[in-house]
Structures are given as C-alpha cells and as structure tokens.
C-alpha cells in the first residue's frame, strides 16, 4: 500500500485472490530463477570457472572424508577378530584350567573361549616351526597352556578390550595376558587425526568458496550498477533487487555440487579398481560407500548453502551501497 496516499491501490490490486497471489509468488520466483540461470548461460566461461572452483573445493574434502569412513569400516572388520591370549601359570593342572574356562565362558563380555594345553601348543609349534625332532631333546615342555578369549563385538573395540584384558589379568590362574591391538590403537588415533584434518581442510575450503562466490556476485552487482540505480529510482526494494543475485548463488551451488558429486564418483571408481586387488590379497570385504543418493543429497545441500551464503554476504553489502545520487 501507498505510504503517502491513502486509498491509492498499488501492488497486485485487491481483486486478485489469495490463491492467485500465492501462485503468482511462485511464478515470479520461478521466472527470476530461470532468468538468473540464463544469465549464467550467457557468460558460460566465467560461470564454468566459478562452478569449477566450487565443485573442486567440495570434491577434495568429500573424497577424503569418504576414504576415512571406508578405512574405519575396514578396521572395524579387523577388530571383530581381535583375540586375547592368556598364558596360564605353569604349575596349573588341566582340571584347574578347565575350571577357569568354565568361569570365563559365563562372563558376558566374552563370546568364545578356547583352551590350548601346553602339550597341544608344543605339537603345533613343532609342526609349524620346522624344528621337528630337535624339540624332543628338551627335558621339559617350555610352553605354557594358553586360553584364547574372543570378546563380544561390543567389547572388541581397543579400549573395551583393554579393560577386559586388565580384568582377565587379575584371575589368579593367569600368568601373562596379551592383546595385540596396540597397532590398532595407533591406527585408530591416526584415523581420528586424519578425520580432524579433513574437517579442518573442509572448513578452510568452504570459507574460500564463500569468499569466491561472494566476489563473483560482487562483480555481477557492479556490472549491473546502472540497472540497479534505475530500479531503485522507480521504487524497487533492496529485497527485489537482491533476489536475482541470490538465485545466481543458488545455481552456482547446485551446479558446483553436481560437479563435485560427478568428480567424487569418478575418483572413487578409479580408486576402487586399484583397491580391489589389494583387498583380495588380504581377504577384506570392502564396498566403497559414498556414491549413494544420501551422499549426493548432503553434498548438494552443502554446496547450495555455500553458494547462497556467498551471494547473501555480497548482496547485503553491495546492493545497499548502490544508491541514486
């Protein structure tokens, strides 16, 4: 409504129904968004460069993130196999050992217990070591009896398994307890450092993207300075003038996100081929995840947000600054 003249009908006059106005609002936005896309198409080279910057900036952290995720998935499989070896005291009889077995199998942290008597251990050692009859010359079996404890999945993580080991060590029959997960712990902390680095890198790149989009939009705004002045002279609000530029940011985001998804897919396919062979050697099951719809969705949302943020920052500052004098 007019501020100065009461009763003067301005915008979409009252005869237009609410429903009609509702559709007009969307038709208006659709038209403006398509116009913005057309502007990008008219300067294809410059647009592609900006979209490329956005696309690659999202590709890098996305690829790294997916790799870290997948590495974690692999190590999860290794942990399932983690075993605790308990070397029993030498003076223990078989009966006492069986008693220990019974007690341990009732623990709910433990899914499986196997007993290897010192005799069995020696036989196995003889077979595998290739020392053969040389071992017969020993006057006494030097190997202790061993109990192999497999923790349940819940207690198979490095920390939980470590706690379980401490508990097992307190059993009086146990001489030495060993859990060979130190390397796993190291891998684990390396992975979490890697993850944090990926996050850091992502944040820095996202910042850069916002600034680059902001600057591109700034140049667009300055290029349309005369048009903006005229629009302000005939009564356009800042919001109206800003809208096409925000849509430009939106399109940059959407197209950049699609490009990133495409590039990540290619990279993962390529890595997948070279990994396949390696995985087969180690009999590891690995389906590289990250190519699904959910990942595409979050990448698009992220990159559209970045595009909008960049254009919003720029538009807020520069459209306000252009005033007719």
């Amino acid at each position: 409504m007019s501020l100065l003249f009461k009763g003067r009908q301005q915008a979409a006059n009252q005869r237009v129904s609410l429903v009609q106005r509702f559709f007009m609002f969307f038709a208006d936005h659709l038209r403006q968004s398509v116009n913005s896309l057309g502007e990008l198409y008219r300067i294809p080279f410059a647009s592609l460069m900006t979209i490329g910057v956005l696309g690659f900036s999202i590709t890098l952290p996305s690829t790294l993130y997916i790799m870290v995720e997948n590495t974690e998935q692999v190590t999860d499989q290794w942990q399932q196999a983690s075993e605790i070896s308990l070397f029993l005291r030498e003076d223990l009889s078989d009966a006492q050992a069986q008693q220990l077995m019974k007690r341990l199998s009732s623990w709910n942290e433990i899914s499986q217990v196997d007993y290897i008597s010192s005799k069995q251990a020696l036989e196995e050692f003889q077979r595998l070591s290739g020392l053969g009859e040389a071992l017969d010359y020993l006057d006494k079996n030097p190997l202790p009896a061993v109990v192999l404890v497999v923790p349940t999945a819940k207690h198979a993580t490095p920390t939980a398994a470590g706690l379980l080991l401490d508990k097992l060590r307190k059993e009086r029959e146990v001489d030495i307890g060993k859990l060979d997960i130190e390397w796993l712990e190291r891998l684990y902390s390396l992975l979490s450092i890697a993850k944090e680095l990926v996050y850091l890198l992502a944040i820095l790149l996202f910042f850069a993207v916002v600034l680059i989009i902001g600057n591109t939009i700034r140049l667009n705004i300055l290029g349309k300075r005369d048009e903006i002045l005229v629009m302000k002279l005939v009564g356009a609000t800042d919001a109206f003038i800003q809208r096409p530029f925000l849509y430009t940011g939106f399109w940059f985001g959407l197209l950049g996100g699609l490009m990133a998804w495409f590039t990540v897919t290619l990279i993962l396919l390529w890595i997948g081929w070279s990994l396949d062979e390696f995985m087969q050697q180690y009999q590891i099951q690995l389906d590289i995840t990250g190519l699904n719809i959910k990942a595409l969705g979050s990448m698009l949302v992220l990159s559209i947000l970045l595009g909008l943020m960049g254009s919003f920052l720029s538009v807020r500052k520069h459209v306000n600054e252009i005033e007719p004098k």
């Binding site: 007019s2 501020l3 100065l4 003249f5 003067r8 301005q10 915008a11 979409a12 006059n13 237009v16 009609q20 007009m24 208006d28 005369d226 048009e227 002045l229 005229v230 629009m231 302000k232 002279l233 005939v234 009564g235 356009a236 609000t237 800042d238 109206f240 005033e323 007719p324 004098k325």
Partner: protein, 228 residues
C-alpha cells in the same frame, strides 16, 4: 501536495545548496522550478525523491513528513512519485516495453495488467509502434517519451521532472510539455525543473526561481525580475 518548510541543505564539505526554502504546491497544480545550473534545482528535487535528506527544515508530501520515512520505506515512497530525468535513465539492453513495465513488475502486478497498462502508457506518449524496439534505436525525444511512459505507468499522483527537455529542440520540448499538461488535467500534480526560460515564457504557469540556494521568486512565469 509538496510542501517545503524552512528547508536548508549543506553538502558534506560545506557547500550550501539550499537555504531556508519555503513553498507549497497544491494538489493538482502544475509548476516549474527554474534557476541557473548550480542554483539548487536538482538538490530540491532530490529532497522530494529522498535521494538526499535536508539538514534543517521539513519536506512534506501530502501532509506526510519525509523526515519520518525510514530507509526501508524509501522504495515505497518512490512508487508514489513518477520521476523523469534529463538522461532518461533507461535500461539500454531492455526493450521499450520492458523499460516501461519495470515499475509494475516491481509492484508485483499480473502479466495481464502489465501488458494492458504498458500499452496504454505507450499509446499516450505516441510510441505504441515501438514497443519491441531497444531504446538505443530511438531518437532523443522518443527516449524521453519512454521515460515519461515509465513514470506514469503506475499512475502516480505526483510527477517530478528534472530537465525533461534538456537535449530537445523547441518543437519537441513543447510536445513534451503538452504531455505533462495532459497528465495534469487528469489530476496529477506536476513539478518540472528546467532552465529553459523560453519554454516557460510561453506558458502561464507558476514558476519558482532559485538563485544560490535561495527562493527568489514564486509566481507566474512573466515575472522574471531578479534573474540575471
């Protein structure tokens, strides 16, 4: 319609543009504002269209103090004022139709209304056949008429013109003034700034004369004393 109460304007840097200006233009009146370049004509118009704010005094339109208008509301104020510029201020890469339609698009009218009103406005200024042309292909007088069509397309109650005949020969200038007279007889208040004294002399309209930022005469155009 337009009322100035002891308005002074000093630009940053100390340049005095207007000093204690008082006048009142009634609703439905047509008046000229004249004076040498640098006398403060443009500043006065800018105070009405809110491109500038006065340092002292009040500017009122239809009884509303423009000093109360917030920055966000300026756009809405300008929709009530049809503005015409010496430099036309047209979008050179848009057709005549799109140029004239701009105020209606901004106000959010339907396609149908826009087409109807733009055609009517172009009819009034005699450019119905040039709808699809680009402004660059038009003559100076035609470009000015596109500017006028844009200013009146949303039927504002007030028209402001800053040197609308600046680059035109006397015959074309007269045609433009006739257009303003048409709008005026339809009830629109018209306020025209010009230094084209010959043009004003041929008509009997109220003329306000500025000199060095001061209003020196306010009356019919014949009274030109104190000018040179």
């Amino acid at each position: 319609m337009i009322k100035f109460e002891d308005v002074s304007k000093t630009y940053p840097g100390g340049q005095l543009a207007l000093s204690k200006v008082n006048f009142h233009i009634e609703q439905g009146e047509m008046a000229f504002l004249t004076g040498h370049s640098g006398a403060g004509k443009s500043t006065l118009l800018k105070l009405i269209s809110l491109m500038e704010r006065p340092n002292v005094g009040r500017v009122l339109i239809n009884g509303h103090d423009l000093g109360q208008i917030k920055r966000k509301q300026i756009a809405y104020i300008r929709r009530d004022i049809g503005m015409i510029f010496q430099s036309h201020q047209l979008l050179m890469d848009k057709s005549v139709f799109d140029n004239v339609a701009l105020p209606l698009i901004i106000e959010g009218h339907t396609r149908k209304t826009i087409t109807k009103r733009v055609d009517a406005a172009l009819e009034m200024v005699g450019l119905r056949e040039k709808t699809r042309n680009l402004p660059i292909t038009l003559s100076g007088g035609e470009q000015q008429r596109v500017g006028i069509a844009r200013a009146v397309v949303n039927r504002p109650p007030l028209l402001l013109a800053d040197e609308p005949t600046g680059n035109l020969d006397p015959k074309l200038s007269m045609e433009i003034i006739r257009l303003f007279e048409d709008f005026n007889s339809a009830g629109v208040s018209v306020f025209i700034a010009t230094h084209d004294l010959g043009l004003i002399a041929r008509m009997k309209y109220r003329t306000l004369t500025l000199k060095g930022g001061r209003m020196i005469t306010d009356g019919l155009s014949q009274q030109e004393e104190g000018w040179s």
